[in-house]
């Protein structure tokens, strides 16, 4: 046998293999038609209500954007919730970012420090429409300030003043079925003991006929800053004046984190008591976000916490399964009938552009198109019939290239006021300036006139506006809010270094307290640990920054 020959073949074969392995897949910048290819990191939604055949990558919104901007949109990855965060983390660690994606404030700062994202200042100055600028300017603190370093803008933030408060959505059809005397005065403001006894009744009677009813499910992270978190305990804690994960002043005027206050300890003691009495989900902690949503969809639970817009994207799944379902929005009040609430930063997710992307203005043009042109087109039905059809079907906003909202400071309630006027017959639907709100008003009337046969879309819009936003408006009108203003929103070096670990520690220790692994007095140990593991440094840095 010719060993030399075999050897040569081997070497050839292997070098070929390794060449194949090394060859970096060079990504094309333009498609065959010469259009620019734009790669997106796509945040999706569980129930987008897209028409048959349409996808997150190819739907009326993306087709419109491709046509108007003469580009091709490609989704580099598509994911939802925690999975999306995971994809972003992996993209950052591999350094292979999509051209445009949405990130959290924390990820944004990391991307900036790593010099991975483009400076958008010139793009904004040159291309941002006056309307978009005015939206950002409408806030007391411009959301762009959070994404500006040394006078340069590195990301375009979502801007939404989510209408407070944090709410509790309850299956009203069950209350009626069981003929319960719940919230007798009908003001939607309830006390803790009312909620407790309702949960116990739901567990006992099992109105969903599932065989294993669950009282109140909560997500294992328990808290989020602000009042938009689904399945968090924000509204429950607020009764005690607990505002976890906000930087607030304590009774002595020192800056502290809301997670460390005695009020939070009281709130946790209550949740623990609920766990012991079976009011809280006995599998608390092991359920993922999707699992909890499934509890509501299966009819195992009829009590979930969340913001006013929950029916639009979450509770609508319940309606799909149980056509007769009716929810009602409630909120918890303290002994003085007040809703305690910590004011929130209007920002949210931030759209960023990869540093070396050749056409960063695409992002600005997308924003102009979706948050200005489409919003302000008075004759959407004629000019953009496909988009109009989508709005009638109430297709989830996640189908748009960017899954975020840019609204003015008071937009939510302003829009709601217009819709309500139209529904009450005070103005014509065509007098509503925004096409989207026109179609919302029409859907709401559809549900109001014929709730049995209304579509899920109409059901969701009616619930979120006429129940969710209505409750927010009611609380403002009747002066029920007791505001607490966090003293700090941004980030410091110590926050970057330690806060992530502190949050996971908080999550873990709170779970231990609730599930009874540790006693409630362990909370004091947690506070001590929090300070020792970098918390003290964070507080000192915030004190210094606030003092400036």
């Amino acid at each position: 046998m010719n060993i030399k020959k075999v050897f040569m073949y081997c070497i050839l074969f292997i070098s070929l293999l390794s060449l194949l392995g090394c060859a970096k897949e060079s990504k094309q910048e333009h498609n065959e038609d010469g259009q620019l290819i734009v790669r997106l990191g796509k945040q999706t939604a569980t129930n987008p209500k897209l028409p048959e055949g349409d996808t997150f990558e190819d739907n009326a919104y993306t087709r419109l954007a491709e046509e108007v901007l003469d580009i091709e949109l490609v989704n580099e990855f598509e994911a939802n919730g925690e999975d999306y965060d995971r994809q972003v983390a992996l993209a950052i660690s591999s350094g292979e970012l999509p051209d445009i994606m949405q990130v959290s404030q924390e990820e944004f700062e990391e991307l900036y420090e790593n010099d991975l994202i483009a400076d958008l200042t010139d793009v904004f100055e040159e291309h941002a429409s006056d309307y978009i600028r005015a939206l950002y300017d409408s806030y007391e603190i411009n959301p762009l300030e959070d994404t500006t370093f040394d006078g340069r803008i590195y990301g375009l933030p979502a801007a939404v003043n989510v209408t407070p408060p944090h709410m509790i959505w309850i299956r009203q059809d069950w209350i009626e079925e069981l003929q319960l005397d719940f919230d007798a005065d009908g003001d939607k403001l309830i006390k803790l003991d009312e909620l407790e006894s309702l949960a116990l009744t739901f567990i006992e009677e099992d109105p969903g006929n599932t065989g294993n009813p669950v009282g109140i499910p909560l997500a294992h992270w328990l808290n989020e800053p602000g009042y938009g978190g689904a399945f968090t305990m924000t509204t429950i804690g607020s009764v005690f004046g607990s505002f976890p994960r906000n930087w607030i002043e304590d009774a002595d005027g020192h800056i502290t984190n809301g997670s460390l206050t005695p009020e939070t300890k009281e709130a946790l003691a209550l949740i623990k008591d609920w766990f012991d009495r079976g009011i809280l989900d006995p599998q608390f902690g092991t359920r993922s976000w999707d699992d909890i949503m499934a509890l509501a969809v299966n009819g195992q639970t009829g009590i979930v916490t969340g913001a006013w817009h929950m029916p639009d994207w979450g509770l609508s799944n319940v309606k799909e399964m149980h056509p007769g379902v009716v929810f009602e929005a409630y909120t918890l009040v303290d002994d003085q009938n007040k809703v305690n609430i910590a004011s929130q930063n209007p920002g949210g997710s931030i759209a960023v552009v990869r540093k070396d992307f050749s056409n960063p203005e695409v992002l600005m043009k997308l924003i102009n198109l979706f948050y200005d042109t489409l919003k302000n087109e008075p004759n959407l039905e004629k000019v953009y019939p496909d988009i109009y059809q989508y709005q009638v079907l109430d297709v989830d906003g996640a189908a748009r290239p960017l899954n975020m909202e840019i609204l003015g400071a008071t937009s939510e309630l302003d829009h709601y006021a217009e819709i309500r006027e139209a529904i009450n017959g005070e103005i014509e639907v065509s007098d509503i300036p925004d096409a989207r709100n026109q179609s919302i008003a029409i859907s709401i009337m559809e549900y109001r006139d014929n709730p049995e046969n209304a579509s899920t879309a109409a059901w969701a819009l009616y619930h979120s506006r006429m129940k969710g936003l209505e409750l927010g408006q009611y609380l403002i009108d009747h002066d029920h809010f007791e505001w607490v203003n966090p003293v700090f929103f941004g980030s410091t070096p110590a926050i970057e270094q330690y806060y992530g670990n502190l949050l996971s520690m908080e999550e873990e220790e709170f779970i231990k307290i609730v599930t009874g692994v540790e006693s409630i007095d362990y909370f004091d140990t947690f506070v001590e640990m929090w300070h020792n593991q970098g918390g003290a440094e964070i507080l000192a840095e915030i004190e210094a920054e606030v003092a400036e």
Partner: protein, 305 residues
Amino acid sequence: MQQRKRTASKRITNINLTYHFMILPGIIFLLIFNYAPMFGLIMAFQDYVPAKGVFSSDFVGFQHFSYMFSLPSIGRVFTNTIVIAGGKIIFNTLLAIVFAILLNEVRVRWLKKSVQTIVYLPNFLSWVVLASVVVNIFSLDGSVNQILESFGIGPFNFLGSNQLFRPLIIGTDVWKSFGFNSIVYLAAITSIDPGLHEAASIDGANWWRRVWHVTLPGMLPIILLLAILNLPNILNGGFDQIYNLYSPVVYQSGDIIDTYVYRVGLMGRDYSFGTAVGLFKSIIGLVLILSANQAAKKYTERQLF
């Protein structure tokens, strides 16, 4: 000695060369995927910033290691890893041996073959799939709890209890892999000289005595060798299994080094710290391999390297 060396090299130049080339792809694979990444260990001593890369990130010495030892959760992570991995090794070995001995006694060929196939099967399923099955069976309203409740016991929150989570992890892992592990032991049993068995029966030994005095001693070298080979695995708790089954409630008893590094290093994007923990794990692993090698030399007169 001199003589041996010459014949060995002579052999290589001749026929065996082809066979030596056959391991070349494996060696290249090893170099690319196991040795090249070791370079990244530098990150453990740096304040690694992806933008700066490994070459220009600032060196911080042992800062990440001291931070690691200052965290209360780190001891727990190492304990969990050793308890879970140790439990898996012990129970997997025991059950595989017992199963092999019992299966060897089955004389009906088709029964033996089908039982063997059935117990192998789970080994080829991914934990991603099996985890959802396990969650369904062991959740509060799952079938296990329903059966227990009909006997008036429970219910137990297997996936959310720090007492039950480790047994669950070890138990399901043993269920998944004991069948496959028993292959080697079955082979060891068949290699025992049947004459010994016959002699023992003639001397009046019952089945139990024969197992104890003939089968087990015959298997002992293999058992020892496999146990020693398994020792370095004592720090591998099984990422894919635990990652798919755990939740923050059972971090206390179920968080192992690999899941911890994944959460902190990759998801928390604290690359340097994650690397430091991973490196620490590797060092302990190295020490264990070296001692396993010594032990192997001493007890089985064989060396791994």
